[in-house]
């Protein structure tokens, strides 16, 4: 900013001018404070207190770290952690490999590339409620179109969301269907921003396409890959709506992620202290994952 230009003889106007940035960022800070910091602070406070529907009128006593300690001896919470990690590892892993394949495919000069790109983006445009309800119908044992075609070709129909052994796989399939295109899109953007020179040099040196991919494309794309993974890991870790609509965490808690566990304890059992503690554990895990990836991205940038 040009100081000489912004000087004004009127001291009030000068003071107002100095305050100008506060007006720009103030509303954003105020909104963030109200909608983010206050709930975060209140839920942290709750996590150290006993708040249940039955007892809160008699008081909300301080229980220290009891809620946190109880969580780690709670089999249901440990199960939800196991389910969440299984879901995240498989969903993000598959999405990454499929997304990379799609991105490499779309990076070539294909006929109808624009159409293919539009088609693969379609799942991303659907709202999660629509996705959950649609897949629930598709997965229906008796009325679903998937089982209909399986029967048509002489295969046994599958209990997609009814069997505790298969339900989590079914949920992973939906997530992969929904967000692979997002990963592909990010990686494609990364591929298209890579410089041509190293690839030309590799070609002149006689590198095969596999060598080029592993020793050139992947290292150059590492930063984009880490950003895509970071985004997907956070998004997948906190997944709620699609799973809730598909299975509500069932059958027999086979698909109960930490988010659904928190919802159940918070808004069905109304044990808000316990649910808050669980949500803070979830935030901590996400922060650790995010910090590791962010640090890796930072190193690459440096």
């Amino acid at each position: 900013m040009n100081v000489a230009k912004s000087y004004h003889p009127n001291p009030i106007r000068r003071w107002l001018r100095r305050l100008e940035p506060v007006f720009y960022i103030g509303p954003a800070f105020l909104v963030m404070g109200v909608i983010l910091l206050y709930p975060l602070g209140y839920s942290l406070w709750l996590s150290f207190h006993k708040w249940t529907l039955r007892t809160f009128r008699q008081g909300v006593p301080w229980v220290g770290s009891e809620n946190y300690a109880n969580l780690f001896s709670n089999a249901e919470f440990l199960n939800s952690l196991r389910v969440t990690f299984t879901f995240v590892i498989f969903a993000v892993g598959i999405e990454f490999f499929l997304g990379m394949g799609l991105a490499l495919l779309l990076n070539h000069d294909l006929r109808g590339k624009g159409l293919i790109r539009s088609i693969i983006l379609l799942p991303m445009m659907c709202t999660n409620v629509v996705i959950g309800l649609t897949w629930r119908l598709l997965y229906s044992y008796d009325f679903g179109i998937i089982n209909f075609y399986l029967r048509e070709i002489g295969l046994m129909p599958v209990e997609w969301v009814a069997s505790p052994k298969i339900a989590l796989t079914s949920v992973i399939i939906v997530d992969v269907w929904n967000t692979t295109s997002f990963v592909a899109l990010m990686l494609l953007a990364g591929l298209q921003s890579l410089p041509d020179e190293p690839f030309e040099a590799a070609r002149i040196d006689g590198a095969s396409s596999i060598q080029t991919f592993f020793f050139l494309t992947l290292p150059l794309l590492r930063q984009t890959i880490l950003v895509a993974l970071l985004w997907r890991l956070i998004d997948t870790f906190r997944i709620f709506d699609v799973v809730y609509l598909l299975t509500a965490g069932g059958p027999a808690r086979a698909t109960e992620t930490v988010s659904i566990y928190v919802y159940r304890y918070g808004f069905q059992l109304f044990n808000l202290g316990f649910a808050s503690a669980a949500s803070y554990i979830m935030i901590l895990i996400m922060l650790v994952i995010a910090a590791i990836l962010a640090r890796a991205i930072g190193r690459l940038e440096a």
Partner: protein
């Protein structure tokens, strides 16, 4: 200079809009918000009661919003609320809430002191917790106020149902929909196979095995959905003489009768395979669809579904020549030595309550008072509902038009419902989880029942019901 003025104007605009956004909203706000979708869609999420075609009377009370879960009760309420509006001129907005989220949504709103709803359709086992959380307005204060209460009103007209809703001498809910379930069966298929309608559980299984022809049609249908399993299983456990708790609140679901019932229920899927393999995703709606689509030869389903299942326009696949193919009977019982059938069954008890957060409590009271009076309850019954008002239940016109009420009267003395305790909302998920674990084969019925009982003991102790 112009820039400065523009900046100052923008800043004032932003601050003013934020202040307006943070200011408390008038009670009309949810009404306005709920009216819009009703105008846009045929199946409204929130439905304004149809305006009376005759000349509109000016109402004495302000507009109220009543919450009801999806299904026949909501459809019925829309019709009956329209009649109320026609008679009194008082406007009622009916807001439909999905079944899965109904309890969560009401509890969050009521306990938080929200004024979104002036009244709601509520179930007995939710009430003690809400009363303890001071989330419900007691109706006794209105009943004792001669300026408010209807002339000649007597809560005795609800019979014993008021016991489910009275705490410390105060009544919190006006009863309605004291219901149960029937054994629905395909008359044509039973006739074709020469089977008689099952009176005992052994006959039930025999019929299911005889009629089972998957994937075209299953012998029967059961429900074991994560959040609804108890509401389908209870007809089996009560019907076989078992129970959840004894008179002293001790869990007895894992006694001989309880385990036998859970084994029977589980075996329908795991051993006999006479139900669809995905019954762990079945609740009220899925069982209804199964019967409507002709995918099940029989099944136990709530009497609230009667109108849907016997109406050929709603269930054309189970109709022939304009007549329904589905018949209904009492669920099976236990055959005694003298050959008679000893019956026990389940059910639920619903009613109408007013949250303490409502800004229009008197208006809401007048509506639910009318809705459960003989006049309103009769209308409720003739539109497919089950009245809690005994005078309406015995009304000649109602009895003539709805024959199942005679069966309901027969069932009422031996009908059990889920215990209405302050810990009920914590107990129900534990029971559901155990049933699902058994039906899906993750646990054997004895282990599942033992686990349920052990967890219930902990919950009941925390609520002070057990030492």
């Amino acid at each position: 200079m112009n820039k400065n003025r523009l900046f100052a104007f923008m800043a004032i605009l932003v601050i003013a809009s934020m202040l307006f956004a943070c200011a408390p909203q008038p009670t009309e706000a949810p009404v306005e918000a709920t009216e819009a979708p009703a105008a846009e869609t045929e199946a409204p999420a929130a439905t304004e009661a149809p305006v009376a075609t005759e000349e509109a009377m000016a109402g004495t009370y302000p507009e109220i919003v009543v919450a009801c879960w999806s299904g026949p009760e909501h459809d019925n309420l829309v019709k009956v609320a329209a009649e109320y509006e026609k008679i009194t001129g008082n406007k009622v907005i009916v807001e439909e809430v999905a079944r899965e989220a109904y309890y969560d949504k009401l509890t969050t709103t009521f306990v938080g002191g929200g004024s979104d709803y002036d009244s709601a359709y509520v179930m007995s086992d939710w009430i003690p917790g809400w009363v303890e959380a001071e989330a419900l307005k007691d109706l006794t204060s209105f009943i004792e106020d001669p300026n408010v209460v209807m002339e000649g009103f007597d809560p005795a007209v609800f019979g014993k149902a008021v016991d489910f809703f009275s705490f410390d001498g105060k009544l919190y809910v006006y009863p309605s929909e004291g219901d149960t379930a029937w054994l629905w069966y395909r008359k044509d298929l039973f006739e074709e196979k020469g089977l008689k309608v099952p009176e005992t559980w052994d006959e039930y299984l025999e019929a299911a095995l005889a009629l089972n022809n998957p994937p075209d049609i299953y012998g029967t249908v059961i429900g074991a959905k994560q959040d609804e399993a108890w509401w389908d299983f209870m007809y089996y456990v009560y019907g076989m003489g078992g129970d959840l708790l004894d008179a002293n609140y001790n869990p007895i679901i894992n006694d001989e009768k309880g385990v036998a019932a859970l084994s029977f229920y589980t075996d329908l899927l795991q051993k006999h395979k006479v139900v669809s393999p995905d019954v762990t995703t079945f609740g009220y709606n899925e069982i209804l669809t199964s019967l409507q689509e002709g995918k099940a030869a029989m099944g136990i389903q709530w009497m609230a579904a009667t109108q849907t299942l016997t109406d050929c326009s709603q269930s054309p696949k189970v109709c022939k020549d304009g007549a329904p193919l589905l018949g209904y009977a009492l669920p099976p019982g236990i055959k005694k030595d003298d050959g008679s059938i000893e019956r026990h069954t389940g059910g639920s008890q619903w009613g109408w309550a007013i949250p303490t957060g409502s800004q229009n409590q008197e208006a809401a009271y007048k509506f639910i008072e009318w809705l459960t009076s003989k006049e309103g309850a009769k209308m409720w019954a003739l539109n497919g509902g089950i009245p809690g008002n005994i005078d309406a239940l015995k009304d000649a016109e109602v009895v003539a038009q709805i024959p199942q009420f005679a069966m309901l009267a027969e069932v009422m003395p031996y009908r059990s419902i889920f215990p209405a305790l302050t810990v009920s909302p914590e107990m129900l998920p534990v029971v559901n989880e155990g049933i699902v674990a058994a039906v899906s084969g993750l646990k054997d019925p004895q282990t599942a029942a033992d686990d349920i009982a052990a967890k219930l003991v902990e919950i009941l102790k925390s609520g002070g019901y057990l030492q």
